[in-house]
């Protein structure tokens, strides 16, 4: 093996790893705040990527209809919850979030009239659509069962994954799609060629990690989320609305998922069901990070990306086997180091 191949594989691994890091961070975030293991993260990726690709191709993506429909259902859930005290302010807020917001996105797309907008607008629209879906998903599927066990939440999460993946097939068909690159420039350093896209991947990953760090460290909402993660009951007692925390967590996760999707869709062809596997690799990183540590998760993600790159070069048949087996030694180490702490369950 020569240095060029080594560098090339490393570069490939780090690019993929950066994406896994983003997903891993989102998973850690959602789990810590809501105890939901977010299997539908994969669908956020594909929805973001394929919505962006459809918009770029001048098509109206079906995801907007889904967002509007889910908004209506979420509104109905809100009304049902408020039924004993229908205050105008609450209802108006719910109308604004659940009805007006998705309709406004639709309105913009309608105004575009099927012309492919510019890249920035397409990206913003895709992110907004997926953000809306993520938000309503929490409201509809998880908020009513937020108090139940991790297992029940997990199964609900699987149900959401199945339903959303089914919608993905309906909206985008079985063929794969690619989207336009954010930038077609490239620079060459030594033997390595850095495309604008890969630089965008690094830049956006780093920016998001710093952004999340600032959000959690220095804003009231970020601190409220952390408080919810540590102790739900305690957070409620000091006036934090845990349902709002859950919604914010899902909003962030869906946006992060969609960004990841948009970042990779110019590099690889995405199918309606590709997201599941990509999301799972984010999981591996999150597990190695112990579902609590953001820096460890990011490092682990880079490691997963590199292992994937090297094993696809040396043993491409066993690439997935190796990547998913990677977790076992980590689990062994974790179990050896596991403190015998009793967790109070239920």
């Amino acid at each position: 093996m020569n240095t060029t191949i080594l560098l090339f594989l490393l570069q490939d691994g780090i690019t993929n790893g950066a994406i896994y890091a983003l997903l891993g961070l989102a998973l850690v975030l959602v789990f810590a705040v809501t105890r939901v293991i977010l299997i539908p993260q994969g669908e956020f990726i594909t929805f973001g990527a394929l919505t962006y690709a459809s918009l770029s191709a001048g098509q109206m993506p079906g995801t907007i209809k889904l967002a509007v429909a889910m908004g209506v259902v979420a509104f109905a859930f809100d009304l049902f919850t408020f039924r004993k005290a229908l205050h105008a302010r609450r209802v108006l807020r719910s109308v604004a979030v659940n009805i007006v917001f998705p309709l406004a996105i639709w309105g913009v797309m309608w105004a575009l009239g099927g012309r492919p907008g510019n890249i920035a607008l397409n990206i913003v629209l895709s992110l907004l659509i997926v953000a809306a879906i993520g938000l309503y998903l929490y409201r509809i599927a998880f908020q009513p069962i937020a108090h139940t066990s991790v297992l029940v939440l997990l199964i609900a999460s699987v149900g959401c994954h199945l339903a959303l993946q089914g919608f993905g097939l309906v909206f985008f068909g079985a063929e794969g799609q690619r989207g336009p690159a954010i930038s077609s420039d490239a620079i060459t350093i030594g033997a390595l060629r850095f495309t604008g896209q890969s630089i965008a991947v690094y830049g956006i990953t780093i920016a998001l990690i710093i952004g999340l760090w600032l959000f959690f460290g220095y804003t009231l909402y970020g601190k409220a989320l952390r408080a919810t993660a540590v102790n739900r009951l305690g957070a409620r007692l000091v006036g934090i609305r845990t349902s709002l925390s859950g919604q914010i967590a899902f909003l962030l996760a869906s946006v992060i998922g969609a960004i990841s999707g948009i970042l990779i869709v110019p590099i690889t062809t995405l199918y309606y069901d590709t997201g599941f596997l990509i999301g799972l690799k984010g999981f591996i990183a999150a597990i190695i990070g112990g579902l609590v540590s953001y820096p460890l998760t990011a490092t682990a993600a880079i490691l997963v990306g590199c292992v994937e790159a090297f094993s696809s070069f040396y043993a491409s048949n066993y690439k997935e086997v190796i990547v998913f087996t990677l977790i076992l030694p980590v689990l062994v180490l974790r179990s050896l180091a596991a403190p015998a702490v009793e967790e109070e369950k239920d």
Partner: protein
């Protein structure tokens, strides 16, 4: 006994009759075959997840081990399917041993994620290995046969599948209703309580994991001979997920919930697949969408699954039944000294980071004495209990039982020496009856293992255990509540149940952590007289308690802790007038 067997017998007869009803479409039989196959896997998951609290997404991979083992051995070596049955079960079991040793110690959410990972990894392994036929798999697997009768059609293997389902359901129910079963059922509520009564929790977890894997392997073996082919698709991560939600939909805590869930899910999928295109036109994966949405809706309406929702309509059993009298259990092996020092704590110290929770505390407990450990909140009383019982290991110092150091010994060893405890925060299994909870205390005095329990060879042993539990429950005065669920009792009564459970150990020293909290005045008096009676019978008691009236009247000696340090020790009269104690409780005396 008959009330337990009768419904199963009726069910078995109905299932046996179905193929003989004229006009039953052959397609229904295929569906029933599939239901049976899924039910076997789901049943294992019920024990693993619903009862034991260990979530696994990887059961489909164990089906794969079972199916591929028989597929390979019957096609490559021409072995008889009946010979490969034990092989299939052993291979799935061995895979479970290996994966279990790695993952079973992980608690909470690591475990499901870990199982997803190896589930996917094994799926790709099946689809890449040359000798397993890669993605195409192995075809031409011989059918099951008895003599010259070859089970080629779905109608004949139907009987094998459903006999397997019913036998495994019986075995699983027997297992749950036994000494080992109680240990498994206690796992879901955390380790500490189970370990305090001698349950080897790691081993119990591994055992139930292997059991679930073997059931999945059996399902895989049947599947291979039913389809007469094996390819990787049915053993992939999606099926692993599906088995788990079959268990959850049916009711993850109930053996028959697995069967019910399998029926509901298999039939629902079939109905959706055949009727949705008629309603909405073809195309797309409409059935997965509807299926996913129905699943979420079901969880919101019935988070515990459908089985308990159904059985709620049935009349409840008699809750006043007392277990039949049986021979007395053998006493705990080991010594029951009548005099001398039972427990000696010497300069015991426990640090959590910078906090010194217990600071060089020394005291002893003699035979036939009641010692009270008192002190303000945060004084280190419960930490001292945890040091004695092996839940925590002392940073420095020594804990000795009957003169022998037990530093570093696990809780399971401490309880064998005759030290039994209760907990400050009650640790009962709320969905087990009082009797079953208390019987867990006698765990170490029983002998029967898992296999004996499944085959009901444990009945003599079991009767003795339950009789002992009933005796102790009556001793603490809760005879009327014996068959109620522990979770339905008041907190004060639950504390008393914990005492009965500790008495089942046949201890020489009883450690009670705030036993009188939540009791009414009369109940406290009854408790005090019970403890005196125990002392007069030769038992020692070390108790933490905040009710000073209770402590002063009862204790022979009192040890006072404050901020982890012993500040006084002596008779109740000494302690009442000790200036340091008054200062610790009331602040500086003016």
């Amino acid at each position: 006994m008959t009330s337990r067997i009768l419904p199963i017998l009726v069910f078995a007869l109905v299932m046996a009759a179905i193929p003989f009803i004229p006009g039953v479409p052959p397609f229904w039989i295929v569906l029933l075959d599939n239901i049976g196959l899924a039910a076997l896997v789901a049943m294992g998951l019920v024990l693993l997840t619903g009862v034991g609290g260990l979530t696994s997404f990887g059961q489909a991979a164990f089906c794969g081990f079972g199916a591929y083992t028989t597929a390979y051995l019957t096609t490559a070596y021409g072995m008889s399917p009946w010979l490969t049955l034990p092989m299939s079960l052993i291979v799935s079991g061995l895979a479970a041993v290996f994966l279990g040793i790695i993952t079973m110690r992980l608690s909470g959410h690591y475990l499901p994620l870990g199982t997803i990972a190896w589930g996917i990894s094994l799926f790709y392994l099946f689809s890449k290995l040359e000798f397993l036929g890669r993605n195409d798999g192995i075809s031409g697997i011989p059918p099951l046969s008895i003599g010259s009768w070859k089970m080629l059609d779905p109608g004949s293997i139907y009987f094998v599948i459903w006999i397997a389902v019913i036998v495994c359901a019986l075995l699983s129910m027997n297992l749950l209703d036994s000494r080992t079963g109680r240990a498994i059922r206690a796992l879901r509520r955390g380790h500490v309580a189970a370990e305090a009564f001698g349950v080897q929790t790691a081993r119990a977890k591994l055992m139930v994991f292997i059991y679930a894997a073997v059931l999945a392997g059996l399902s895989g073996w049947l599947y291979a001979h039913f389809q007469r082919a094996a390819n990787p698709t049915p053993f992939g991560p999606h099926l692993g997920i599906e088995y788990l939600f079959i268990a959850v939909v049916g009711g993850a805590g109930y053996v028959w919930g697995g069967v019910l869930g399998a029926a509901v899910v298999v039939i629902l999928k079939e109905v959706l697949q055949s009727y949705l295109p008629l309603i909405f036109g073809g195309g797309g994966q409409l059935e997965t969408i509807v299926f996913g949405i129905l699943l979420v809706a079901l969880l919101q309406l019935a988070p515990t699954g459908m089985w308990p929702w159904l059985t709620a309509w049935l009349p409840a059993g008699d809750s006043r039944r007392r277990p039949a009298p049986a021979d007395a259990l053998p006493a705990r092996s080991g010594s029951h000294p009548d005099t001398g020092v039972l427990l000696q704590i010497e300069k015991a110290r426990k640090q959590f980071g910078g906090v010194i929770a217990v600071n060089d505390v020394s005291f002893t407990v003699q035979a036939r004495e009641i010692v009270a450990l008192i002190g303000p909140n945060g004084a280190g009383k419960s930490t001292t209990f945890n040091l004695i019982t092996g839940v925590l290991t002392a940073t420095a110092g020594k804990v000795a039982v009957l003169g022998k150091s037990v530093s570093g010994a696990p809780p399971q060893e401490i309880v064998k020496l005759g030290i039994a405890r209760t907990f400050q925060h009650v640790k009962l299994v709320p969905d087990m009856t009082v009797l079953e909870n208390v019987a867990l205390g006698a765990h170490l005095r029983g002998r029967s293992g898992a296999i004996a329990s499944m085959l009901r060879l444990d009945r003599a042993d079991e009767a003795k255990l339950l009789a002992e539990a009933a005796k102790q429950i009556e001793r603490v005065g809760l005879g009327d509540q014996m068959n109620q669920l522990a979770g339905s009792l008041s907190l004060g009564q639950q504390r008393i149940v914990e005492i009965a459970r500790a008495l089942c150990v046949d201890p020489m020293l009883l450690l009670l952590d705030e036993p009188a909290a939540g009791l009414r005045h009369m109940e406290k008096q009854q408790l005090a007289s019970l403890l005196r009676q125990l002392r007069d019978g030769g038992m020692s008691v070390l108790l933490v308690e905040h009710d000073m009236g209770f402590v002063m009247k009862l204790a022979n000696r009192i040890v006072v802790l404050d901020f982890g340090t012993k500040i006084a020790e002596g008779t109740p009269a000494d302690i009442k007038t000790n200036p340091d104690v008054i200062k610790a409780y009331l602040g500086v005396v003016a």
